[in-house]
Symmetry: C2
Subunit: 199 residues, 2 copies
DNA sequence: CAGCGAGGTTAGCGGTCGTTAACCTGGAGG
DNA sequence: CCTCCAGGTTAACGACCGCTAACCTCGCTG
């Protein structure tokens, strides 16, 4: 894991705050003035960093999808041949949980504001998402050969729903600690797949 | 189950179309003119039926939460004493799946646009949602006594995420039929709970 | 058959929002 | 020291949107 030590750039600040605000109140529910205020500058100042409000959302969504896919590919490559499919599936689940727990606003945006994108950006995001899903489907079917491909795809989407539920778990603190939550989610995801695979 | 035979009222038409549009493009992304057009009247005509756009969303969300809670209470009462906790849990899961499959737009709204409500309405909806969750938590803990209350609550929220993933499953037709999908979801939900309960 | 209310219509107001224009400023480089 | 540009500022424009006002028109009903 690469740890950043240098300060975040203004662009990164903006993206982070925009993600939080978009997740809280929806893309159309947030004004550029608010985003600016959140980073200490005022509305139109944002246009020195982004061509428009749409571009911020696009960069966020493309970034999320790309990051998920890249991480999954890396995990798949790291384990290829050496370890069994079970271990790969565990690694995929772990990666997705880390993302869901560490970047809740992004997870929220990811399946909520996709339709607000320009056509070309939306196509790109959907393509990345599809690749990510297909990668999971292959691994899941290797672990549970009884699953048909459509069933496996449905199961994967459903498990994403399960893992992405983290924003609904107590807003902060009330849940039993990050480690325990991650472990609970992991067990439940495996249990859900196992139940789906007992055709 | 009560089956309606009479034609839907204009109010009901409006609510249905508004739900669909809100789910597709978000509350702020839909104009009153579009909602009107969807039922064949034009924008301001809606104000003969609702005091404002907010009121439509409020009625939808309060209706959803109330319907879910009422259904769950009924299922709990029907089985009380007679059947085991396992059967009650199965009944709850079945009811939630029916709702998720039959009213996808409402399920989408339910956890997406809550923050767009007036304070009083939002409090009411949250209270109904909380009661619904607590009802599930009690049943789940009866079936899996090893689960602590916080863990059970997290597990319930996560299973809701799983069951509410239906809008993400193929937009229509591509999934293996309603019955098979319902059964798959049911099995996965039970599997997830079982895995959570093996503390 | 007069009257009236339910349920529409169109025009338009007031506010908000994304974006652009025009201007300012501090610090780095020759 | 002059220049320039990155990164701000405020003012303002145009579009859009929720909502109201004013008006119309049926179908009941006394």
């Amino acid at each position: 894991m690469v740890t950043r030590t240098d300060a975040p750039t203004r662009r990164e600040q903006i993206l982070k705050e925009a993600a939080r605000l978009f997740a809280e109140r929806g893309f159309h529910g947030v004004g550029v003035d608010e985003i600016g205020a959140a980073v200490g500058i005022s509305g139109p100042g944002l246009y020195r960093h982004f061509p428009g409000k749409d571009a911020m959302l696009a960069e966020l969504l493309v970034g999320i999808s790309g990051q998920l896919l890249t991480g999954a590919k890396r995990r798949l490559a790291e384990a290829d041949g050496q370890t069994g499919a079970e271990a790969v599936l565990d690694s995929l689940i772990e990666g997705h949980i880390d993302f869901a727990l560490d970047d809740r606003p992004l997870i929220t945006l990811h399946d909520r504001e996709l339709d607000r994108l320009r056509d070309s950006d939306r196509k790109l995001v959907r393509q990345l998402q599809r690749q990510y899903v297909e990668l999971w489907v292959e691994v899941v079917r290797e672990v549970y050969p009884a699953l048909s491909e459509p069933s496996a795809r449905s199961a994967v989407h459903s498990v994403f729903g399960l893992l992405n539920s983290t924003p609904h778990l107590g807003r902060a603190g009330t849940l039993p600690g990050r480690g325990a939550t991650a472990e609970l989610l992991h067990r439940m995801a495996r249990g859900a797949f196992a139940a789906a695979g007992s055709d």
